[in-house]
């Protein structure tokens, strides 16, 4: 159950094939613990039959679940629409049922497997199931602790960021593909384990036990409880299993309609799901936002935190931090960027201006790795980075912002900043397993840095606000702050002033100038030309995909070709 919450709520991948993963775990456990088919009297046929001890079989089941989860998740890598993915998942689960039911050699077909041992069944004198319940409870407890570490730490934060906006997550250097597979694998492991525990408890398993309705039951539990909230998943499970599925058992049995009770149970389940999506889509226990203690006061209030030491290799690149050479990008037959060449000097703020449709934003997207170039080259800090993926460029220190703010809606303002910090200890496997002890110190530093930034933009009081509640201007400011949290060496800003209040805009100008003095390089796309005038020594003018002029803003204003580009279009 928690496994599904992880995949669905946190990962944003509706895994309607969840039951398939549970089944994978169950079957793995079954065929590993059962004796060879011949030994069990030959009445059921299946592969393997290794009679492995319980812990090994359990671990294998978890592994099988993880692998299945990843395999199913591969379809998600094509970045299909979410509902489309959900449909595929549904088909996968229908399909798996059909195959297993039809193939008698693999898992004994439609009849299913039975007489599956559990760890206490061999112990003499233990006839009741209670000791096993104890084992299951212990496993669940361990699982819950691991899950909490997974979802509440920096790892969970990064995953929720990917769920909210993949593009923006790539822009701050998160490897989206890897993170999504991690979610699938982790959710799969949980599902596989739960399948193994379940099958050991009932002692048998057949395709009928995992019809798609079972997945709906799990999904309902997550939706009723609240997506992305562990406590919610627990509440939801209780509500769904106790109230709905067990509740119908107390209805009087009507002899003429033997299946009526179950049917009513499933119908109620469907109705409850629809009702919750209709009335309370956030569930009973909405996703909770971790609050950060007061122990980390903002650092460097009112002045800019120092940037990392200039990390560029000595001798590399020389004067220019960014060189763009004859860059081309076509959409259909139209060349949006048509052979543009320009450079950004190390430590400068360079402006990039031009009328609508000149190709400025497209150029920015190609340089930052969000669009494949159709030709030309991009050199960053002396290294050829043409066509490298966005998250890799971000890690190298080339970070962009977006014209329309792309905040991580479900994260708080503070979390939006924290998630952007590079090299977080809590985002790796040791961080997840060891918990706060391992990454707490680093986290405190990051909180302090983030609070420093927030204070600078006068947003300190909004740190626990979900980012979706910020005003348009604050979202834009957040976008820039988030980019700064990555400690970039070259910042590509796409119209950062648009939508900012005059006060925030003024603040941003000051911040950019201060950062420049500390060695930050900036490429600024902006249509408020007065701003460009104040900030940039050098300005590049683009029109119809090409660079038509370069110079200081004051000179450019007097040039005929620039005036024509603007007024004639």
């Amino acid at each position: 159950m928690w496994g599904l919450n992880l995949q669905f709520g946190v990962g944003g991948v509706a895994n309607l094939a969840y039951v398939v993963v549970v089944a994978a775990g169950a079957y793995t456990y079954a065929v590993l613990t059962l004796g060879p088919p011949a030994a069990s009297g030959g009445f059921q046929h299946y592969v393997l039959g290794l009679r492995l001890p319980f812990p090994v079989a359990l671990a294998s089941a978890g592994l099988a679940g993880g692998v299945t989860g990843v395999l199913i998740g591969v379809t998600g890598l094509k970045r299909l629409r979410q509902d489309y993915q959900a449909m595929v998942m549904l088909v996968v689960s229908l399909m798996a049922g059909t195959v297993v039911a039809a193939d008698t050699g693999l898992f004994n077909g439609n009849a299913g497997l039975s007489l599956i041992p559990n760890p206490i069944s061999g112990v003499s004198g233990m006839t009741s199931g209670w000791p096993y319940v104890g084992i299951v409870a212990a496993c669940c407890l361990i699982g819950f602790v691991v899950l909490r570490r997974f979802t509440t730490g920096p790892m969970g934060r990064a995953l929720r960021a990917v769920r909210d906006d993949e593009t923006a997550a790539a822009a701050i250097g998160k490897d989206v593909v890897r993170l999504r597979l991690v979610v699938q694998a982790a959710g799969g492991v949980f599902a596989g384990l739960s399948g193994a525990l379940l099958v050991a408890f009932i002692g048998g398993w057949s395709p009928a036990a995992w019809a798609p309705v079972e997945t709906l039951a799990l999904l309902t539990a997550v939706i009723v409880g609240g997506m992305g909230s562990d406590a919610g998943a627990t509440v939801g499970t209780l509500v769904v299993t106790v109230l709905l599925l067990q509740g119908v058992q107390f209805l009087p049995e009507i002899r003429s309609h033997p299946g009526l009770k179950e049917a009513l149970g499933w119908m109620t389940l469907g109705a409850v799901t629809i009702a919750f999506i209709w009335v309370r889509p956030q569930g009973i226990v909405p996703e909770r936002r971790p609050r950060h203690g007061r122990e980390a006061p903002p650092t460097h209030v009112g002045r800019i935190e120092p940037l990392p030491p200039p990390a560029s290799r000595p001798g590399a690149g020389g004067e220019a931090i960014l060189e763009v050479e004859r860059l081309v990008r076509r959409f259909g037959g139209v060349a949006a960027v048509d052979g543009a060449s320009f450079t950004v000097r190390r430590g400068s703020i360079t402006g990039l201006i031009g009328p609508n449709g000149a190709g400025k934003s497209t150029a920015l997207s190609v340089i930052s790795g969000f669009l494949e170039p159709g030709g030309g080259a991009v050199r960053f800090d002396g290294a050829d980075v043409t066509g490298r993926p966005a998250h890799e460029l971000a890690r190298r220190g080339l970070v962009r912002t977006f014209q329309l703010a792309r905040e991580f809606r479900g994260l708080t303002t503070l979390e939006n900043l924290l998630v952007a910090a590079p090299g977080q200890r809590g985002e790796g496997a040791p961080g997840v397993l060891a918990g706060r002890r391992y990454w707490g110190g680093q986290e405190r530093e990051l909180v302090a840095r983030a609070r420093g930034l927030l204070a600078m933009f006068g947003m300190a009081d909004r740190e626990d606000e979900p980012a979706r509640n910020l005003s348009g201007g604050q979202k834009r400011a957040l976008e820039v702050m988030r980019a700064l949290m990555t400690r970039p060496r070259l910042l590509l800003l796409d119209e950062p002033m648009a939508g900012l209040s005059p006060r925030l805009a003024e603040r941003l100008e000051e911040v950019l100038l201060q950062l420049q003095r500390q060695g930050l390089s900036v490429l600024l796309v902006e249509h408020e030309l007065d701003v460009v005038d104040r900030l940039c020594e050098q300005v590049v003018v683009m029109a119809q995909g090409r660079v038509i002029s370069t110079g200081r803003m004051a000179e450019l204003r007097t040039r005929r070709e620039v005036q024509d580009a603007y007024v004639l279009g």
Partner: protein, 250 residues
């Protein structure tokens, strides 16, 4: 836009105190417009001034619209889009201005959706007189056409209902200079046939050349409202587009 010929007739479009935008922030505010039949009013201004939002606000397809929009003497604020077509309002969006997966003929047919079938066939012939280049393309799917042909299809489609008021959102965007000249000449001719045209354009000089009146939009408001010719020759125009010190050197 008071001119002697138009004073008698009711203005095709009258806008007072328009305020509109998305979410809670207005993109345009305090906009007043007047437009009479037989005239082209150009709305020009730099990137992000709110020109497209203005057109969408007139049609009620933005987040919120406040103020008064009067078309042919009728208040249309809050009226559903499909009813505006019956009032004789034709709209050509900047992008997604045609039904991509339909043939040219079918696009025109949908433009005349509100007409009886036989009348539609007659109108197709009439708009083809205006856009003869489309005749050999009638059975092609629009997605196979060139940019200029697409825009002509879009214009021909709105003409099917013989609208009295045309709202054109940057019809020359993404067209080459020569093709956009052809399109703008058509726009002028339509006005000469008695239609009122609100022409939103990024290419200010070209648009002003065919317009009677000019509204210069800056930061969501009307910064200048004057006869098109005067605005075209005004050095202040360059200031609006390029900032404070443009006129000094230019």
């Amino acid at each position: 836009m008071p001119t002697s010929s138009a004073e008698a007739a009711a203005p095709a479009l009258r806008v007072r105190g328009l305020r509109a935008g998305y979410g809670d922030a207005p993109v345009v505010s305090g906009v007043d417009l007047d437009l009479a039949c037989g005239q082209v009013a150009a709305v020009v201004g730099p990137n992000g001034a709110g020109k497209s939002t203005l057109v969408k606000a007139l049609l009620g397809i933005v987040g919120f619209v406040e103020g008064e929009v009067v078309i042919d003497g009728r208040v249309t604020t809050g009226m559903p889009l499909e009813r505006l077509a019956r009032l004789g309002v034709g709209y050509v969006p900047q992008v997604e201005d045609v039904f991509e997966s339909l043939r040219v003929r079918e696009n025109l047919d949908m433009g005349g959706y509100l007409l009886p079938r036989r009348e539609r066939a007659r109108r197709v012939e009439r708009v083809l007189e205006t856009f003869p280049a489309l005749r050999p393309r009638l059975d092609r799917y629009v997605e196979t056409l060139s940019g200029g042909e697409r825009k002509m299809t879009a214009l021909a489609r709105v003409l099917m209902l013989e609208p009295r008021l045309l709202l054109l959102d940057e019809p020359t965007a993404s067209l080459s200079l020569s093709v956009s000249r052809v399109v703008l000449d058509q726009v002028r001719r339509l006005a000469d046939l008695g239609k009122a045209v609100l022409l939103v354009e990024q290419r200010a000089a070209a648009a002003l050349a065919v317009a009677d009146w000019a509204y210069v939009m800056v930061r969501g408001g009307i910064a200048m409202s004057a006869p098109a010719r005067r605005v075209l020759d005004d050095p202040a125009m360059r200031e609006v587009f390029l900032g404070a010190r443009a006129s000094a050197g230019g």
